[in-house]
Symmetry: D2
């Protein structure tokens, strides 16, 4: 079952159009990914302090419904393994009062070692099940 | 020739990894789009005040190189017409000191009238040249 | 008894020093004020839509302890009446695990009508008890 | 003569009231302080990487005039020495088109060594001239 995080729109996240500013969804999505990792004992900030950096390679975001001040919503996070070193997060944001899909996103990442070279920590490897191609 | 905007990384835009936080690039890209529109006499905030909202439908961002505190960079914006009502911005961010591509993005949008229905203001129509299909 | 709101530090709110960036506390404090107002049936964003704007005149913030990624904290909000038209929020942020005072703030505000002139909505008047000086 | 930095309001910095969100002024002020320090060969982010942290102890901000999308403004920064270890920045933000004072701020800071103890780097000492008390 997918990981799920409940959040609430804060007024300062909304812009002159009276809706959540587009870039704020990237904040929401990042926070949900990090909470997802935490739930699996992976600490983004702790890794950064050790110079092991999880970095985003690509993000694709479809904006379906605009959230407004005070809206409750939840984010679902699903791990996807793309290749030996690359992994992704399928993330969806739903407005709580009607379960409408607000954001549909796919965020691809990689982990870099202290030399900035891609490598895969065991914990990440376990979390993103390999596609069992022959 | 593509529109070009010069900017500089501010320290508060950087996160615990010591690099520009991913979501901040969405801020940069939005600002560059709005400056591009301004350069063509289209005022995003003014339109919003009249309840004509330019909204983003989809964003695709490839993160190539991480910018760090103090980096100078420039953003190129190129208009792309996708269909009768949909338009897009091809946006690239380059680090200034070596002209390396940092961000490669495609942001698709639509304009909504006061009733939230898609329509195309004449100024937008002119700015995004139609593909000359027969 | 003072209003109290529980929150949690998100990684993207932290800067290159590995701590919550100073300006983010202003976000936290604003959010807590608006939740406090909501709890008393005053809707900041709704008022803004009607061109009644609650604005901050002055903020004083003492930074005592730096919060870090993942920290749980709570914000206490206490209304203070300063004069006929001016009101303030005494706000304190405490780190949850040891109840240490992280932020001590006093934020002074006023409400402006559609013409930008100070006036006091009845709901605000009730919420901020007048000092009964002779 | 005071240090001066020119900036421009970006649309994403404005909130549902159609004006620059209060917390964004803290971003502006921080950026101006860091640019001021850079102009005197002090690199905030570089110091942070060496675990020498310049931290804010207190900020006092008076909000005089609200800036709106597209406004040009400039920030003046003046160093003030408060005591042997404490220093401050007197910062004013002026709207460019009419030189109106928008923000009047005093931000007090201290520098901490790798053990988190206050100390004064020589460069900071030079920048903030001591009050010549007997």
């Amino acid at each position: 079952m997918a990981f799920r995080l409940e959040m609430k729109v804060r007024d300062y996240e909304c812009d002159v159009q009276g809706i959540v500013n587009n870039s704020v969804y990237s904040n929401y999505l990042e926070h949900a990914r990090h909470e997802f990792l935490h739930a699996h004992n992976i600490d983004f900030a702790g890794l950064a302090a050790e110079k092991i950096n999880l970095v985003v390679l690509r993000s694709e975001i479809d904006f379906k419904v605009s959230l407004v001040p005070g809206d409750l919503f939840y984010i679902e996070v699903e791990p996807v393994r793309l290749s030996r070193l690359k992994f992704a997060f399928r993330q969806k944001i739903f407005r709580q009062n009607d379960n409408k899909l607000a954001i549909d996103a796919l965020v691809t990442g990689v982990s870099l070692d202290t030399n900035g070279r891609p490598f895969l920590p065991a914990a990440i490897d376990r979390l993103f099940p390999s596609t069992d191609k022959p």
